[in-house]
């Protein structure tokens, strides 16, 4: 243990020395990027921004959408979209100025010196080409030698292997053709030195797992054999005889395997639409790293994925880049992720760098007001349940103690009672039914918030739709105030709708683009025939005031408002009929941290004022901590764990819940210490 630690520090020192020696790999100084509007005006997307990346270092750029973080990174690759243009400053790669490069010149550095892992795995692979072909394009474009490993000098200098690489040939890759013979020879060698039984099986299983054609090199095979006890000379003899170089197909499979894609050789022959989001992202990582670039630009590489998948992929990427000595410029909106993964952090706001420095230091002791605000709003495991304005004002001591509405939880009666809820769907061209929700039961108590947490495909939204009576359950019941909602029809259904209101995930989709804000908020009043024209107008004003939007937005249309503003309109619309229960289906997931924080506070204040009950559907555990009193964890349609928020967070009972908690980026880090 101690030995390993010292070795690690030794490598770190060595790395630091090298970084000092070589200077920054990427150096951006006073960068200015302009976009031209249709009218010919220049919009300054990035202004006077400077940052640098050293070899082997992870640097994070954080900021909200529109802060210029992606634009800065794309400028380095010469891939600015549309009318984007670098109008000032310098970008140096290994000391060479590249900001004035033509597209032709950029071709020579892309792929081989700088790789890209883009944001959206769904749109970044061409649907008409096989995955393997798209990896191959990268290798072919940069004339990569597919039978020998290319490693950066940094990786070589850092390699902590005891084996010295003697010649070029030692970096030859293993080919798939020779693999069976190699395995056989290895087994023979082990038997010769007297390894038998379980030991032999263990070694052989290890070999089979590690020796991936197109990824494992001769010296590593030799190293593995020597570690298993085979004599040096014999090990090298076997390695030299059977590790003789890989084909293009082997190398493609090897790269995909390195990116963590199981069964890579078969997968390489498939098309993108046959892959899940996580698998596509792995393929994109393989593409980005295919030509062993010195710098990898990762633009929100895991934002579209579930937290557990995100963690796996990032862990893998980190191991991979560490062993290759690749520097990573990591663009993210997630402070936790930046704190956890990067050594250096750059905070951007409105196209400018407002703060930068060692990541932990910046995030624990933020100095710029914007960073402070960002850190304060970032949900994390450490955060507490939001306290409403009234409580904040009324009693300062209660604020200190307040965690969960425990009183209300114990004494309140049940508003929504879900019993053994099951929903089955018929899948196209399949006989067996798919159980989206499987025997789920829980209660929502009056005046409290129950959160349903789960990853995509957990069935949480299906539950929400059944509670809203937008979907009929296959079996089980939902009762509202003691009445079974399945019996509601006509007038009783209308009455139910009046009391149970939804706020949906997509702030762009849930408001009719053809309706003015006034009409949108007025719609429920009209449907239920409440009030006359004048009183409805007064109510709309009141509601807008409630969600802290100016009256002037009434005449506006959804497309003029931001996501957060639309979500507040949706909340105002839901509040129009004075409901008892609001079902929030991922209501804050699409929003930036600051806006998300604002909407969560709004929801919380409304709850305190109006005694609302919330059923809060989300994939984000950190948000749950801020808003929920009770938590239900769902996986594959089943209820995994159910308890109060504190119970679930402090003493999770189930492995899945623990995994989810572990996967929260930066969950264990305390940020914003001085706030």
């Amino acid at each position: 243990m101690t030995q390993e630690t010292t070795q690690e520090t030794k490598i770190e020192d060595k790395l630091e020395d090298l970084q000092h020696q070589e200077g920054p790999l990427l150096e951006v100084k006073d960068l200015q990027v302009d976009f031209t509007t249709d009218e010919g005006h220049a919009v300054h997307a990035v202004r006077d921004s400077s940052f640098s990346v050293y070899p082997g270092q992870w640097v994070a750029i954080v900021g909200e959408s529109g802060s210029g973080k992606s634009t800065s990174a794309m400028a380095c690759l010469g891939l600015l979209p549309g009318t984007g243009k670098v109008v000032g400053g310098s970008i140096k790669l290994n000391g060479t100025e590249i900001s004035h490069y033509t597209q032709k010149q950029f071709v020579s550095v892309r792929g081989s010196k700088m790789g890209l892992v883009p944001q959206d795995p769904m749109s970044n692979l061409n649907p008409v080409w096989r995955i393997g072909t798209q990896v191959k394009e990268s290798l072919v474009a940069n004339n990569m030698d597919v039978s020998h490993e290319k490693r950066s000098d940094l990786a070589k200098a850092l390699a902590n292997a005891d084996i010295e690489i003697k010649s070029e040939g030692d970096e030859t890759f293993l080919g798939s053709k020779e693999l069976p013979e190699l395995i056989e020879a290895a087994e023979q060698a082990l038997v010769t030195i007297g390894v038998t039984g379980d030991d032999l099986d263990k070694h052989m299983a290890y070999f089979r797992g590690e020796w991936v054609p197109g990824s494992e090199t001769r010296w590593r095979v030799a190293d593995d054999l020597i570690k298993a006890g085979v004599k040096d000379d014999d090990a090298w003899y076997i390695a030299k005889k059977y590790v003789t170089g890989s084909t293009m197909e082997d190398r493609i499979a090897g790269l995909l395997d390195e990116a963590g894609l199981p069964d890579a050789a078969t997968r390489a022959r498939q098309y993108p639409h046959e892959f899940s989001g996580g698998m596509r992202q792995r393929a994109l990582i393989a593409i980005g790293l295919a030509c062993r670039p010195e710098l990898l630009i990762a633009d929100e590489p895991t934002s579209a994925l579930d937290v557990t998948v995100q963690k796996k992929i990032l862990d893998h990427l980190q191991d991979l880049t560490n062993s290759l000595g690749t520097a990573v410029l990591f663009i993210t909106h997630d402070l936790g992720l930046a704190a956890e993964r990067a050594q250096h952090i750059v905070v951007m706001y409105k196209g400018q760098v407002v703060e930068s420095g060692p990541s932990l230091e910046v995030l624990q002791h933020p100095q710029h007001p914007y960073t402070k605000r960002l850190v304060a709003a970032a949900p994390s495991l450490a955060s507490q349940r939001i306290v409403s304005v009234e409580e904040r004002g009324a009693d300062a001591t209660a604020l200190m103690e307040h965690k969960v509405n425990e009183d209300s939880l114990e004494h309140a009666d049940t508003v929504i009672d879900v019993e053994h809820l099951t929903k089955e769907f018929k899948l196209p061209r399949r006989k067996e039914l798919f159980k989206a929700v499987d025997d789920v039961s829980f209660q929502v108590k009056r005046g409290t918030t129950l959160a349903i947490v789960g990853e995509s495909g957990s069935g949480k939204s299906t539950v929400a739709n059944m509670v809203l009576k937008l979907l009929e359950p296959t079996s089980g019941t939902v009762t509202y105030n003691g009445q079974d909602i399945s019996a509601f029809k006509g007038k009783t259904l209308l009455d139910f709708r009046r009391h149970v209101q939804p706020v949906f995930q997509n702030p762009y989709g849930s408001l009719d683009p053809m309706y003015s804000i006034y009409r949108s908020i007025e719609e429920p009043l009209r449907i239920h025939g409440i009030g006359d024209k004048k009183s409805r107008a007064a109510r709309v004003r009141e509601l807008l005031d409630m969600v802290e939007l100016p009256e002037t937005v009434m005449q506006r249309y959804p497309n003029e408002l931001s996501g957060g503003q639309r979500q507040r309109i949706a909340i105002a619309r839901a509040m129009a009929l004075n409901p008892d229960v609001i079902v929030c289906d991922e209501a804050v997931s699409a929003l930036d941290v600051l806006v998300q924080d604002q909407v969560l506070h709004l929801l919380n204040d409304l709850q305190a004022k109006n005694g609302l009950s919330y059923l809060f559907i989300t994939h984000d555990l950190a948000v749950v901590r801020q808003i929920a009193d009770d938590v239900v964890v769902m996986q594959h349609g089943r209820l995994v764990e159910h308890g109060t928020t504190d119970e679930v967070f402090l003493h999770p009972q189930q492995q899945y819940t623990k995994d989810l908690l572990d996967a929260i980026p930066g969950g264990k880090l305390e940020l914003g210490l001085d706030l």
Partner: protein
């Protein structure tokens, strides 16, 4: 561990001076910008599009000619005197005379009304029938959709011109322009129905319908209040573009001699009559052709401009 190591050169702690990037309140509404609905936005885009301005002026002019042909010529298009046969242009007769001795300019002016009426009437019928059928198919889905879609497929498989000729042949004795209008509509409604079905299907699946249902709205109310208004733009686009193509079809049928009767003044008929003298007097054929082409061009350009303004792809925000 990271906080112990000293930052590398150039990566020391940096905090921007506050006055450089003044902090703005989170998520404020820009109250200075003018309010804009989808239509207001589309109008703003259109106003700046030269294609729209040119085609708009042309269309207004064409409509004016169709409504008040007398303003442009004092000559009777049906007054033909064989003495004037193929006489060149003269004072008051800028385009000269055709084989029968009719005034070409007067006939071009009066032909506008015929072409435009056929185009507009056909479009109105097609939009009404196509939207109705498409909306029903898209909204109800299931077997209703299956049956209606097959019917659309059947009509789609018959080339429009061929079908129109077969039907028109049966009604040679009828001289009203409604004959041509109805026949063009009979084979034209399917493409609009297809577009309308697609538009209804896609807006049916949008979240605001679910939201509306959860507010207590009924499916029928959703159809009229949300789905149809949101399906209007693609229908407008195809209506504008096909208006031009109906004018072409009418001219083609008249040219073949089975569209409008020879007694009706129409560009297609005049072009047909002029083809025999193409080699000697091409100008007689030229004038109605140009009038026809300009009219069609105006509507197609208008369709393009409207499409640019209403295209959902360009309206992502």
């Amino acid at each position: 561990m990271t906080d112990i190591t000293k930052p590398l050169p150039g990566q020391e702690r940096y905090v921007a001076p506050l006055d450089e990037t003044p902090l703005q309140t989170v998520d404020t509404v820009d109250e200075s910008a003018p309010a804009s609905s989808m239509w207001a936005d589309a109008w703003r885009t259109l106003r700046k599009n030269p294609l729209f301005i040119i085609s708009g002026i042309l269309i207004l002019f064409i409509i004016f000619v169709a409504l008040f042909p007398g303003v442009f010529t004092k000559n009777d298009p049906n007054y033909c005197n064989l003495d004037n046969s193929l006489e060149p242009a003269a004072a008051g007769h800028p385009f000269g005379f055709d084989l029968q001795g009719c005034d070409v300019y007067a006939r071009v002016v009066y032909g506008t009304r015929t072409s435009l009426s056929v185009g507009i009437l056909t479009t109105l019928i097609v939009v009404a029938v196509g939207t109705l059928v498409g909306a029903i198919a898209g909204f109800f889905g299931g077997w209703v959709d299956a049956v209606l879609s097959r019917i659309v497929d059947i009509f789609m498989a018959i080339p429009m011109l061929l079908g129109a000729i077969v039907v028109l042949q049966m009604f040679r004795t009828i001289t009203s322009i409604w004959k041509v209008v109805l026949v063009l509509a009979l084979f034209g409604w399917v493409s609009t129905a297809r577009i309308a079905r697609g538009a209804v299907l896609s807006s049916k699946n949008l979240e605001f319908n679910t939201a509306s249902t959860a507010l207590g709205s009924t499916p029928t109310r959703n159809l009229f209040r949300h789905i149809l208004p949101n399906s209007v733009s693609p229908i407008i686009v195809i209506a504008t573009t096909s208006l031009g193509s109906y004018i072409v079809s009418e001219a083609t049928l008249s040219f073949l001699g089975i569209g409008l009767p020879t007694t009706t003044v129409s560009w297609g008929g005049d072009i047909s009559k002029a083809q025999s003298i193409l080699r000697t007097d091409p100008m007689v054929l030229f004038y109605p052709s140009v009038a026809l082409a300009i009219t069609v061009l105006a509507f197609i350009m208008m369709g393009d401009a409207v499409k640019d303004a209403l295209d959902p792809k360009s309206r992502t925000a």
